[in-house]
């Protein structure tokens, strides 16, 4: 068959699924600029980045789980628990509360990974269950209430809300995390092996890759970054709560998929998640701008996620969709 333009070929190309979101992002920015000239100033852009930071950090973590062909549904619970731990411990421990809160995420992420791999439980079940355990723990520790970070504690969180050389610290934090994750995914053994496992686990295993270890590391990273996101969120809101990150699971996964990482694994990466997170963030701001009720946000993200998966899924790769 002679097509005038090889649409199929272009769409099947590896880079296409990464380029389309970028085009979409630029188009969204242009629309905003046309609708509200002068919107794209340094100040608003830095605000946009700051507002995207938490979502991006969460989404970066879950990117690794998705690249492997799995999913991490525990991230919002882990982030919330980290916020509770931070708020609880700040008054007594000061800055030491930060690493402890983040370690809790690492621990539960590792736990999810081990359950998934060693007990051979599908990752969505393993992380759903871990998420339940973590939420229960957070509710118990906090007595089911939000914990305000008081004046004494706020001294230790102020740095997160500060700016360095005109850039909000949260933006710097997410930039550092984003770059580290990008390098890990693209240039390390772990990153390449994660992609190979997602693209074809039996062949990756047969080629001598330690699939179990790769998966556990990915889920550990996902848990740890979820906790980092929780800590940043707590510092920004000056509060820790067992439900603090409850509305963030859907947008985080949507950011990964909209950015161009395949839900089936093996294709995509952290750079794409950065683009996806910005798209989600802009859509959110746009909705506020247009006056969409804030409660309807997740309806939109749900629809966006379904659309993104339906459009991008490679049907030649999976015979049966469960």
């Amino acid at each position: 068959m002679n097509e005038p333009f090889p649409f199929r070929q272009v769409f099947e190309g590896k880079w296409t699924q990464g380029a389309i979101p970028l085009v979409l992002l630029v188009a969204l920015l242009l629309i905003i600029e046309i609708a509200a000239p002068g919107f794209l100033t340094g100040e608003t852009v830095s605000l946009l980045f700051a507002n995207t930071a938490v979502l991006f950090i969460l989404a970066t973590g879950v990117t690794f789980a998705i690249l492997l062909g799995g999913i991490d549904l525990s991230i919002q619970a882990v982030a919330s628990l980290a916020s509770v731990i931070l708020a609880q411990l700040l008054p007594s421990l000061g800055l030491a509360a930060f690493p402890l809160a983040i370690l809790s995420g690492l621990a539960f992420g590792t736990l999810s990974g081990i359950v998934h791999v060693k007990l051979r439980v599908p990752s969505f079940v393993a992380t759903l269950a871990t998420g339940g355990v973590v939420t229960g723990l957070a509710l118990w520790v906090s007595d089911g209430r939000a914990i305000t970070i008081e004046e004494a504690g706020r001294e230790n969180t102020a740095w997160i809300n500060a700016s360095v050389a005109g850039l909000p610290v949260v933006v710097l934090i997410s930039a550092v995390i984003g770059i580290a994750a990008f390098l890990a995914q693209r240039y390390t053994r772990f990153g390449r092996q994660a992609i190979a496992v997602g693209a074809g686990e039996p062949a990756a295993w047969a080629a001598g890759i330690n699939v179990d270890r790769t998966k556990i590391i990915a889920f550990a990273a996902s848990g740890m970054l979820a906790a980092v996101a929780g800590v940043v969120l707590a510092a920004r809101l000056s509060s820790g709560s067992p439900v603090l990150a409850n509305q963030l699971l859907l947008p985080a996964i949507a950011a990964v998929i909209v950015g161009g990482t395949a839900i089936t694994g093996g294709l995509g990466g952290v750079a794409r998640t950065a683009v996806g997170a910005l798209i989600i963030s802009i859509v959110r701001i746009g909705m506020t701008f247009v006056g969409v009720n804030i409660f309807l946000e997740n309806m939109v993200f749900g629809a966006v996620l379904i659309a993104a998966v339906a459009i991008t899924i490679d049907r030649s790769k999976i015979a049966v969709i469960k």
Binding site: R192, A196, G200, A204, A206, G208, N210
Partner: protein, 500 residues
Amino acid sequence: MLNASHIIKTFPGVQALRDVSIEVRPNEVVGLIGENGAGKSTLMRVLAGSYRPDGGSLTLDGEQLRMRSPRDAARYGIGMVFQEQSLVLNLTVAENIYLGEEDRFTRFGIVNWRAMNAAARRQLAKIGIDIDVTARTSELTFAARQMVELAKALTLEEVVERQLLILLDEPTSVLNAADIEVLFARVRSLKSRASFVFVSHRLDEVLAISDRVYTMKDGAVVAEHRAAEVTAPELHEIMVGRGLQAEYYREARQQQPRETVMVEAKGLGANGAYHGVDLKIRAGEIVGIAGVVGSGREEVTRTIGGFLQHDAGEMKIAGDAVHFGSPEPAVRKGIGYVPRERRLEGLVMFLSIAENISLADLSSVMRHGAIDYGKERRLAADWIKRLRIKAPGPDAACRKLSGGNQQKVVLARWMTAGSRILVLDHPTRGLDVGAKEEVYELVRDLSAQGVAILLISDTLEETIGLSHQVLVMRDGEITARFDASPGKKPNQVDLLRAMV
């Protein structure tokens, strides 16, 4: 009754069927033989409606067939008994027989199981088989499942007016002699009501059951015989169709193996799949294992590749005792496994050639602790040139390559990883003749470089032609060992005697 004329079917990189014409007459059993990759299974799938031919026409009693799926084929009275059984194991026998036909037993949305079971029982009785229709299919023996499949195909009688055409795709490959006799008796008694196409690569069986035999080779029908007028050796010669065996397998390049023992097994056993296996493979030596399905040779190769653990005896790799739990330690010991399931275990099909080549030894393309993409691409480009891999470039996805080129990528990966031992599990399955010869050439190169090779293969000729030494396995044991030095190659009959 069925007339297939000038059928053409092409897959990416392979012309599976080139201008194939066959006919099937009423109440006839037609045999279809050929080596693996000759196109038998593809032709069957075209007849069964699973594949749509790219050219040619199919007519049944003069009527043009238009089939998009096996369901359409069923409407014409064409049923298939699959090589890989197509029963759903956790359903009952009756549910399987009427899978997809539940409507016939359904009233007001509720299935009348009693009626379905009774119908299934009648169906089995017709072919004289006594199986409990309410039993779970997973509880049946392999042979019994085959009978259920046959019964299932015959249910078409109940809904189709014309005579049935039943396609049997290698139904005997996993049956023992007694079960084969039972199957053949059924086919003979059913001949009055249906025609059959019978595919097998066991020539004696084909001659025993068929009225007429078509021989396929490289995607074309090369001969047609009345079964009574031809012998198995004659067919074999046509099927293989090459005189110069020695040259085909590069026997002139077969060299004396070196002294170093790379693989040594003593009293090796696993899971009841095999036991008491002793073998030694020296550097540069090719050891072939012959045996039928279930002989345990597959499990022996998978043990050495690290896919299966042994639970008895000991295994030494280059002198060190090992016990592999997964392929990872085996790869670290310098073992490379070239699997039969190339698309599943051989290559990560969605990654590029470059990514697949570096996969087993990423350190070969890393610099200062980071993957060097330029180096990775150059390495792949180098292999593409050296092995004459036909591909647009190092970034091409492996799924777009032909089977032979995919196999070269797998071998390039193990050479990159510096494997000193290769396990070749049906290395030429599904490859065309030209690609096979290139693989043989490569195998000889590797052997000359001192790589120890364990080989299992689809054909005895390949095993004999390539190996220095041939072991024969039956029922989990080694039953014979043959020296296969050039000029002293054992013949197939000797091997077969030890195999069955």
